[in-house]
């Protein structure tokens, strides 16, 4: 025999709460979107290079220039991050150093064939943060 617990109770379905839930989720996530206002900066990353080219599994050297209105930016703190385009793979990290005024270089070890995205996390001397991306497609087995 069926219990009253199953059949009884209120008749208002829980789906009535659906619009409220959807609205709440929407507001929360739109707030995220609006709060993602990146600071405008005249500082730019140029002359990005990844060697060897085409890239192979193993160490790769990443070099780039950091400029502000065509003037080299010295003294920035730079860290490199390599991610595969497929989620779930371990990222690789490394540091980069200034080898000439405004020119930075670092080495990362790519540990799997496929498509990689290299992220440059840059902290400028005045504390502002800058992020840049280099797509490294079709890394081949070594």
């Amino acid at each position: 025999m069926k219990s009253n617990f199953r059949r009884g109770g209120r008749r208002r379905p829980l789906t009535k709460a659906l619009p409220t839930l959807l609205m709440f989720s929407g507001i929360v996530l739109l707030t995220v979107a609006c709060s993602r206002s990146a600071a405008k900066s005249s500082t730019s990353v140029t002359d990005r290079e990844v060697s060897p080219h085409p890239a192979r599994v193993g160490p790769v050297t990443v070099s780039f220039h950091l400029n502000d209105a065509a003037k080299p930016v010295s003294g920035a703190q730079v860290s490199l991050e390599g991610d595969m385009t497929h989620p779930g793979m371990a990222p690789v990290f490394a540091g980069a150093h200034e080898v000439a005024p405004g020119q930075y270089r670092g080495s990362l070890t790519l540990n799997m064939p496929g498509d990689w995205v290299l992220l440059l996390h840059i902290t400028l001397p005045d504390g502002r943060k800058l992020e840049d991306q280099i797509d490294v497609r079709g890394v081949q087995s070594s």
């Binding site: 779930g88 498509d115 087995s141």
Partner: protein, 490 residues
């Protein structure tokens, strides 16, 4: 001269004393509650909304976005493992149905699903199409496209079930649902009647008609099965979404979530409510082919040799676009290879006079024996991504929360998952399980159909399973190469 066997009469599974999840103290009481499904759907709906918004507005890099991480790592893996361990509980918690039910309070569907489309041809085609789009547009690498895929799903549900009555989307359209239906033929649990005797004395048939208000036949208090599965004649999990409407509708409390032997429904061939005979459903065979060979194809798209094949094909076809090359690969995997393997096995079976069935009916009947192998391959593939990327949800959630201004700590991007060296034996285990499952199903089918000389049927189909299994093992030991731009090196 060898004599052909006769086809035995279809049988119906007899009910017996089995484990019943609905009799388990807390879980059973919860699932028996008429709002249980809604309570399970709401978190999934919220997560879906979060995935859509993060996919559209969050980071464009897939490993850092909830849409891609949750969809391509966690959802797929958990879904396959849940089906293996229990049953089709992801359809039970499907958030699309929650939205549909809410929409149906505003718009009542007016039409019945077209008779010509009451089969699996469309859904099997959509299943193949999703696999194709996944490879062509590299959905795993694009949070934006992943979000739009989820939106398209919600839109598809609302349009189909807004226009057509019952659960037309689930039964005839949903590619994900078809995956779940095929895979759940191997689940240890099924929604089934507890005592067939009670059903023989039941004169209301509420499990399919729905429970109606006394005195007014038009007012439905509790829906019956929207997928046209009449409980006393229902066999197995095919087309069952575990929605539990039949459980709530049955006035005799005679429907449970019962244990059974996984894959048993593939062996027998009774007349099934809402489905008919498996052995007469060519469309179901098409679904089985997409399910099994699609599993190989989906894994093939992530290993190094695929790029060699693509470059060779591009040169052969004189094309530089990926779509025609991919179409050729799909055509080979989903049409040529199944026709050669399954058709060849059916032809040999016929030549050996193992079965009196004609070529196509024989191919249809025994095609179900490869379902365990297909599921083994999906488990190996999805299980790999799920386990190796298990903990990535932590830093991605931390990062998403941080962008909201909520501080859950600094994201630990090195939290990834179980090391590959531990996962590969698990993958091999799934494949071995699938292989022996397929052999067992083929052998039991042969015993059912041809008890006099079962080996004449079994051996050709065991050879098919062996070929598929060897291909699957070869695939999981290939070096992975997760590349989106396939023809760039040509």
């Amino acid at each position: 001269m060898p004599q052909a066997c006769t086809i035995p009469e279809p049988e119906v599974l007899e009910s017996s004393h089995r484990f019943d999840l609905l009799r388990v103290r807390v879980v059973g009481r919860f699932l028996g509650w008429r709002h249980a499904r809604t309570v399970l759907q709401i978190p999934f709906l919220i997560v879906s909304a979060v995935m859509i918004l993060h996919g559209l507005l969050g980071p464009s890099l897939a490993p850092k976005n909830l849409a891609t991480v949750l969809t391509w790592l966690h959802f797929r893996g958990l879904l396959a493992l849940t089906i293996l361990a229990a049953g089709n509980f992801f359809c039970l918690a499907c958030p699309f149905m929650l939205v549909r039910n809410a929409a149906r309070k505003l718009f009542r569907p007016r039409w019945n699903w077209p008779r010509a489309l009451r089969n699996k041809w469309l859904s099997a085609g959509l299943f193949a199409l999703i696999l194709f789009v996944y490879e062509l547009y590299d959905l795993w690498a694009s949070p934006w496209l992943t979000a739009w895929l989820i939106i398209a799903y919600f839109g598809g549900v609302l349009i189909v079930d807004g226009l057509f009555k019952h659960a037309s989307f689930c039964k005839f359209v949903c590619p994900l649902g078809q995956f779940n239906f095929a895979a759940s033929t191997l689940s240890p649990l099924e929604v089934a009647v507890r005592d067939q005797q009670i059903c023989t004395t039941c004169d209301t048939k509420d499990c399919i008609r729905g429970r109606r208000r006394s005195g007014s036949d038009l007012v439905i208090l509790q829906r019956g099965c929207e997928l046209a599965l009449f409980q006393p004649r229902k066999v197995g999990n095919m087309d069952c979404t575990f929605c539990l409407d039949c459980v709530h509708a049955c006035p005799h409390d005679n429907v449970g979530i019962l244990s059974r032997m996984p894959a048993s429904e593939l062996i027998i061939d009774p007349m099934r409510s809402g489905i008919g005979f498996f052995s007469r459903r060519k469309d179901l065979t098409a679904l089985v082919i997409v399910f099994t060979f699609g599993a190989l194809l989906n894994a093939f798209g992530m290993v190094s040799p695929v790029y060699v094949v693509e470059r060779w094909l591009a040169k052969l076809l004189h094309v530089t676009q990926e779509a025609p090359v991919l179409a050729a690969i799909f055509g080979f995997f989903l049409i040529v290879e199944p026709l050669v393997l399954l058709g060849g096995a059916a032809w040999i079976t016929q030549k050996l006079k193992g079965t009196p069935r004609a070529l196509i009916p024989s191919m249809v009947r025994y095609s179900y024996s490869i379902v365990p192998l297909g599921f083994g391959m999906w488990l190996a593939h999805y299980g790999f991504h799920f386990l190796t990327g298990l903990f990535t949800i932590v830093p991605v959630t931390q990062s998403a929360a941080a962008s909201l201004g909520l501080w859950f700590g600094h994201p630990h991007w090195l939290w990834v998952g179980v090391p590959m060296r531990f996962v590969q034996p698990i993958q091999l285990g799934f494949l071995i399980l699938g292989f022996f499952g397929s052999l067992l199903v083929a052998r039991r089918m042969a015993d059912e159909d041809c008890p006099e000389h079962p080996m004449r049927v079994f051996l050709p189909w065991a050879a098919v399973s062996l070929v598929i299994w060897l291909a699957a093992v070869w695939l999981i030991f290939q070096p992975m190469e997760m590349r989106a731009t396939m023809l760039m090196s040509s």
